[in-house]
């Protein structure tokens, strides 16, 4: 039965997944175990995305199924969900830019790969990044941007991190829209990630190094 929920989620079978969850809840199963299976299913989704078997619509749909599943399970939860293992990442779309599609995909992929992502949203002021890094002690920062104006916002954000004395405590990755290796140099970031999987690879490398 456990196998079934994992597969139903991985294969994006919404109705089957919901039915399995309801049945298991009716059988008084530990809700944390159900959520654990759902998470395993999402990991498979993430792997399939990494292998170019799944694309953005599939990620979006899996997220939606997970939301429905979580809502079914939530009333039975007595304690908090399991903690993440791989470390914290402060993530956001930089000041002046309100695009979120690309950011949300990377956040999703980091999340299913076991990171705790502090998603600051879009049009994030420079100071907010600095404050969150201080507050959380996150060793990794992700700066997203779609427009060319983000080149300067990223540069300013990284300069502010430096001015706050945090630059040697964090690794910074950039990505999105018109970003490139050239822009990485311009902004002073540590790396440019071409797509969501590149972001995950970088985060894993950096989390391991810490």
């Amino acid at each position: 039965m456990a196998e079934n929920l994992v597969n139903a989620l991985a294969d994006l079978k919404e109705e089957a997944a919901i039915k399995i969850v309801k049945d298991r809840l009716n059988a008084n199963e530990d809700p944390l175990k159900i959520l654990g299976d759902a998470r395993k299913g999402m990991e498979i989704v993430g792997n399939r995305f990494a292998d170019s078997e799944y694309f953005i619509p599939d990620l979006v749909y899996s997220g939606e199924i997970l939301k429905v599943v979580s809502e079914l399970v939530k009333p039975r939860l007595t304690k908090g969900a399991e903690s993440k293992k791989l470390g914290k990442i402060v993530f956001g779309t930089v000041a002046g830019d309100i695009h979120d599609i690309g950011k949300d995909i990377v956040v999703f992929m980091l999340d299913v790969n076991g990171f705790e992502v502090i998603d600051l949203g879009v049009d994030v002021p420079v100071q907010k990044f600095v404050d969150k890094i201080k507050e959380t002690g996150a060793p990794v920062v992700g700066l997203s941007g779609f427009l060319a104006l983000a080149f300067d916002s990223m540069k300013e954000t990284i300069e502010a991190i430096k001015a706050a004395g945090l630059r040697d405590k964090v690794k910074v990755m950039i990505g999105g829209g018109q970003m490139s290796e050239e822009i990485k140099k311009y902004t002073g970031a540590d790396a440019y990630g071409k797509d969501a999987m590149a972001g995950v690879t970088l985060a894993k490398k950096w989390a391991g190094a810490k």
């Binding site: 994006l12 919404e14 799944y54 694309f55 953005i56 619509p57 599939d58 979006v60 749909y61 939606e64 002046g96 830019d97 309100i98 695009h99 599609i101 049009d123 427009l147 060319a148 104006l149 080149f151 829209g177 018109q178 970003m179 490139s180 050239e182 822009i183 311009y186 797509d195």
Partner: protein, 451 residues
């Protein structure tokens, strides 16, 4: 004796539209008066060069070069997007200066600065714009949302114009919220009941909305007098327009501003047939949008920005099922009427090249942003003109020598045998102006075809 339009083949219709474009008329129907003989010569050379690059029948004299700006002309004149959206008098001098200084082969109109006060009057929710959610120095940006609910496909399918006339405006314009009370006037077309659909117009919320509409109309009119004037003047200075108007891919219409990215992607799973039917219903509207603009302007070029079919957004199977068929129908509908769709493939289109080859020869032009141009040229060789690919990072932070080298490289890769227009890959705001100049100048020197 000229052949009547309805008797023409699509080839002939295209040629006729191109000829109207190459030999433009003034509003009275007389031959356009150019500001000087040099401007006339430049205009005709440029328009012919672009036509040759697109039709693939003969090699142009050289590679044409376009600059396709967002707010760049404002920045170039030291103005902000806010300045030109709120003070229309600032638009023309800035936009004119931009084209006159850089001398690309065509101009793109001055429609980028949408009228700010108009947006304020109607309380436009769909975008943030300078001073309204983003800074004065920042371009406007779309706020995606579900402006059409998942259960509203039937309305859209059966009565798209109703949806666009009442439902959609009531959601994207705060000042028109009361439009949800309105109904089409086609009801009982008899004396009996003739006043019924007018009842909502007597209510205070609708009357407030109507007042806002009148004010907004004033602003829109003021604005078009300015940007329309630009459109009329630029040819007299030697610049043909690279777009008569724009239309969209049905998938993007639904995915961008009706259901949103998330919404349309869920619909692909939960109600794929409704989504397909809705795109089918929108297809004739978006053909007509392009055909109407091209005929009115006497210019075959219709711009089509492509968004959600890019690499990574959809799988191959999803692209072939959901994105391409309705887009192809729009393209074929335009082509049938002699219109030349100029498609802007934003992002990467590497995985789509084999699919988009399925088009008649010399009828479309494809502006690529980040696609591998060698692959694009190979795939579309003998089928369509390829354009673009000058990267944003190079224009913004690269050295001038890099810009020159890359321009030459692109001409080497794509220019062979004609069928290439040098252009930027993505719309730009503030860049290194000397790089822009280098791109245009290099294309003009290095892009000359030997006889």
């Amino acid at each position: 004796m000229e052949k009547k339009r309805e008797d023409m083949s699509s080839d002939e219709k295209q040629e006729a539209l191109f000829q109207r474009w190459i030999s433009p008329k003034d509003p009275e129907g007389n031959n356009l008066k150019f500001q000087n003989p040099q401007a006339e010569k430049l205009y005709k050379e440029r328009a012919t060069r672009i036509k040759d690059a697109i039709q693939l029948k003969k090699k142009p004299d050289r590679v044409p070069v376009f600059l396709i700006p967002s707010f760049a002309p404002a920045f170039y004149s030291g103005l902000t997007p806010h300045d030109v959206m709120y003070d229309f008098d600032k638009i023309i001098p800035a936009w004119k200066k931009f084209y006159l200084d850089f001398q690309p082969d065509a101009h793109g109109g001055a429609f980028v600065p949408s009228p700010g006060k108009f947006l304020e009057i109607l309380d436009f929710n769909l975008y943030k714009w300078p001073g309204h959610g983003v800074s004065n120095k920042t371009t406007y940006q779309c706020l995606e949302g579900e402006y059409m609910r998942a259960d509203e496909y039937d309305t859209l399918i059966h009565n798209p114009l109703y949806f666009f006339s009442f439902t959609w405006p009531s959601r994207v314009f705060g000042a028109l919220e009361s439009f949800q009370m309105l109904t089409p006037l086609a009801g009982l077309t008899e004396m009996y009941g003739v006043s019924l659909p007018f009842i909502p117009y007597g209510t205070p919320p609708v009357q407030t909305a109507l007042k806002a509409l009148m004010e907004a109309g004033d602003e829109a009119l003021k604005w078009i007098q300015v940007v329309g004037g630009f459109e009329a003047e630029m040819p007299t200075l030697g610049f043909p327009a690279y777009q008569a108007g724009a239309t969209k891919a049905p998938f993007d219409v639904i995915g961008d501003t009706l259901r949103g990215t998330r919404g349309i992607m869920l619909d692909m799973y939960r109600q794929p047939d409704k989504l397909l039917q809705a795109m089918e219903a929108l297809t004739p509207i978006y053909i007509q949008l392009g055909v109407g603009a091209a005929k009115m302007a006497g210019n075959p070029l219709i711009f089509i920005p492509l968004h959600k079919g890019a690499d990574g957004f959809l799988s191959d199977a999803q692209f072939k099922k959901f994105y391409w068929p309705s887009l192809r129908k729009v393209l074929m509908g335009l082509i049938e009427e002699g219109v030349v769709p100029l498609l802007w493939a934003e992002g990467g289109y590497n995985s789509r090249l084999e699919v988009i080859r399925d088009l008649p020869k010399g009828k479309t032009a494809w502006l690529f942003d980040q696609t591998d141009m060698a692959k694009a040229k190979k795939a579309l060789d003998g089928i369509a003109c390829v354009m673009g690919n000058m990267p944003m990072d190079l224009m913004t932070v690269g050295s001038t020598q890099d810009a020159i080298d890359h321009t030459k490289r692109l001409i080497d890769i794509c220019g062979k045998g004609g069928g290439y227009i040098m252009a930027n890959g993505a719309f730009f705001d503030e860049v290194r102006w000397e790089n822009l100049r280098a791109i245009v100048d290099t294309a003009k020197e290095y892009g000359v075809y030997k006889k």
